[in-house]
Symmetry: C2
Subunit: 361 residues, 2 copies
Amino acid sequence: MSRIYNFSAGPATLPLAVLEQAQQEMTDWHGSGMSVMEMSHRGKEFISIAEKAEADLREVMNIPEHYKVLFLQGGASSQFAMVPLNLMGKARKADYFDTGAWSAKAIKEAARYGHVNIVASSKEQSYTTIPDRALWELNEDAAYVHFTPNETIGGLEFDTEPETGDVPLVADMSSSILSRPIDVDKYGIIYAGAQKNIGPAGLTIAIIREDLVGHAGPNTPAMMDYAIHDKAESMYNTPPTYGWYIAGLVFDWLLKNGGLTAMAEVNERKATALYDCVDNSGSFYSNPIDKPYRSWMNVPFIMADSSLDAAFLAGAAEAGLVQLKGHRSVGGMRASIYNAMPEEGVQALISYMQDFQQKNG
Amino acid sequence: MSRIYNFSAGPATLPLAVLEQAQQEMTDWHGSGMSVMEMSHRGKEFISIAEKAEADLREVMNIPEHYKVLFLQGGASSQFAMVPLNLMGKARKADYFDTGAWSAKAIKEAARYGHVNIVASSKEQSYTTIPDRALWELNEDAAYVHFTPNETIGGLEFDTEPETGDVPLVADMSSSILSRPIDVDKYGIIYAGAQKNIGPAGLTIAIIREDLVGHAGPNTPAMMDYAIHDKAESMYNTPPTYGWYIAGLVFDWLLKNGGLTAMAEVNERKATALYDCVDNSGSFYSNPIDKPYRSWMNVPFIMADSSLDAAFLAGAAEAGLVQLKGHRSVGGMRASIYNAMPEEGVQALISYMQDFQQKNG
């Protein structure tokens, strides 16, 4: 079979150009006689890969000098503990937005380490909206404010960052990082598992304003202390070198393809086209999210007649459109359309959806 | 350049057959139209990869049914915290052997969580020997006994496991796992970072006797609780899928190449030949380790005239023999000769060493 269109929420499709370069370099990177997988992380070859990846990410995201960029392990789930372990400090309280399944997981983990104040929750609305700003309860003495800019499962996305004044803003950007330009300066910490818009699972990126490094409590495991990773330039222990390398190829691909401004344009076009298809289906397909907060990256939709789900998925797979089944907590379908999903893939999905409706509507 | 012989201590050389298979499957695994890197960890394709890898590892190591096999992140350095967080229990004390740099790191981390009793230490002998068994101070009420079967930096290896009676034995087997058959039944927990004898950095394997799962203290981060990973079959969060896949290819390669009995034979031959070269050099080269405890995997050696080090390394690199520089804490050279280092590589190194001695001795 040739390449298919893979709408998985993560691990997710990667740019074919990146995979082909990795394939070509697999047994011999740049004449070194080694695979990147085999390189000592302290050797000059890997150091050059690591440094270029960081420099390119800084360029792509326009990350200011006074932010550290760490290449870590453990996914967002490890960050759910690391953020409170490093930032809760003596205040022992933090503000959290509750806007979906991933917010809820972050909240549950943070509650081990101190008091979690819920700034705002859309749980009663089944996480289909962002609560009205007028109702937010932000605390000036919170150690930080945590939010999830894009909820991968619900398909709900903040339109802009919350304004938190002097309280550091922390974002789990796993499923929206690199999807559009952001102003890093507005954030205290941005973290993201790599497996959606960056590269392979197992790599986690944390972008941390430097004054927020160095405040971990005494019982913090060494591997969960930002200061230890920062001091060692992400090599306190052996980092996930191959993931770091692939991420570097993705950053390079982004730079060669117009950076985040170009990504945002394409991503908006892809999302708009897909939501239009859903909205114009006369309720054959529907998406429950409040329109201003619909995710560009994860588009869940259900069919009015859910008995057609299996046929929809089987037909899609035959047409080379896979991983469209929705998360079990939401049901229906979900199309994740990260940077690496080409517009042709979204157009193919739309054609299939229209075709399926014509035959079954 | 063609492939070189890479003596890195980790990340380390991998079987060429494994890399070539990964290369061939990079953009389209088994006709799925996806790279393994792009697969949902919950999709049928990756589940089949994951299950086969675990089954093959169980076969290779002859792991009994009542042991769990977890595919984790974070390296041995995360296990340094996870072991005490999960096992120290109410006793809040554990026994540790101190036989090298990695033992010392494990001890330092464990001391955050309870009392560490040093069973025996060879620190005063610069970690060149395993202390006499008659002098070991094992405590019957210790929560567990921790040791490092093979010290990667010093090149020191236990000849057999310590006998610890009813106290669970915990081993950091990062640099010796899969190098020879062991009796898993003698261990409570075996853990290993993958980047030496298993696969790519970023994957960590833990083999845990089932009665030792489920005892983490209440403030243990979710990502550090064995029970949470066990219950979710290593998919509490997105696992390092590509590393898991490559590890599976390595396990398959081991099975096709005679398993651990065959590995042990070859590894003993490789180590013996290299130590013989050192010992028969009339002190031009030397290795400081007590002979019964010399590592099969990591062979450090120094030259009597250390001013020749740079010329040795430069000449070696020209001959396609790389990553031979010793750890900065030991100096001199170190040849790591894991399973994937072919005998021809060791023979090439020996020829080069003899040649170098002839020209400079």
